[in-house]
Homo-oligomer: 194 residues x 2
């Protein structure tokens, strides 16, 4: 089973090394990890960003599943590029797994950077008066329930690890979940063939 | 043509009114706008968030296109739920349109809340050392190029409007783009039928 490895990991100073570590964990579980930086892109080309997009999309189309790193990125929610990719894979009917190394619930995450208060109706709002989602979930419900229905519940550690961007325990838990589903997945794929 | 109206508009204090205004603009252009809050959900139910998810997914599946409000939300990027939905619709092969009422490029957006500096390699990084995407785009390249290839370029005003959450000029420009594509779209849909 081929797994697309989505996450803001590609923005880390040691992005290549993290990709190698993630692919090695996949291999230990009998799976193939596909990492965006495996695509050879000329970053000095004028259309570099389009080439990255096309490379990632081709990689996603060739994968059977996604494991997305939904650790909050520059705000209360996950990295936008990763969230787009999770949605894309869900839309394509692929298996969806994800983890967040920050187990905090969404209202707490928002409160780190915004003033959160109770509105007259009793619901939480930010300083602009916009509702703060408060369903006991760590991030927007669309991502969380897509995982529940299309793969497995979001994996989170009990406590935020010391190294938020390099701790791969929750990632490995996702790989194990994917490996558990691989035999069924193969049977389903065969059943679909004429 | 039915258009799913995605955006953090649902979190506004006057979320229902914004939905009505957006649907009215669609109707003026001969299109049908589907707004998430049109689904009747009991918000006091224990599974309210799952009911919202299922309602939104059913609505997206019944739509031919999406118009996503990608105005930055609680950080440099668009609302995570909206981005998930854009990805989902792209994955389903639907037409994708979007606007952002903030025309600022991504590095400037990040610099509002994070320290952005140049790394030794010459690329931009934030205070955690993570690369800041710098391709002359307003948000993550995955969303921006998905729009370029699956609908139309992200619509943005020249200047941020005074009322960031209620100005619908760029939204209306998306509706006009969708209406332009509707005849071709109908012909394509017919061609697909046996």
């Amino acid at each position: 089973m081929k797994i697309y490895l989505a996450g803001p990991d590609v923005f880390l100073p040691d992005a290549m090394e993290i990709g190698r570590r993630k692919a090695a964990i996949c291999a230990r579980h009998g799976l193939t990890g596909l990492y965006p930086l495996d695509n050879a892109i000329d970053l000095t080309a004028v259309d570099a960003s389009l080439a990255i997009f096309k490379g990632n999309e081709t990689m996603m189309d060739s994968a059977d599943a996604i494991i997305a790193n939904l650790t909050p990125f520059r705000g209360p929610s996950a990295d936008a590029g990763t969230v787009y990719e999770l949605g894309y894979m869900a839309g394509r009917g692929k298996l969806c797994f994800a983890y967040s190394n920050d187990p905090t619930l969404y209202p707490e995450r928002v409160a780190r950077s915004h003033t959160v208060t109770k509105a007259d109706g009793g619901h939480l709002i930010d300083h602009d008066g916009l509702t703060v989602e408060d369903f006991g979930l760590p991030d927007n419900l669309m991502m969380i329930h897509a995982l529940d229905l299309r793969g497995a519940r979001l994996v989170m550690p009990r406590q935020r690890p010391v190294n938020l961007w390099h701790d791969l325990a929750s990632f490995e838990a996702c790989v194990a979940l994917a490996a558990d589903r691989a035999p069924t997945f193969r049977a389903d794929s065969k059943a679909d063939r004429p």
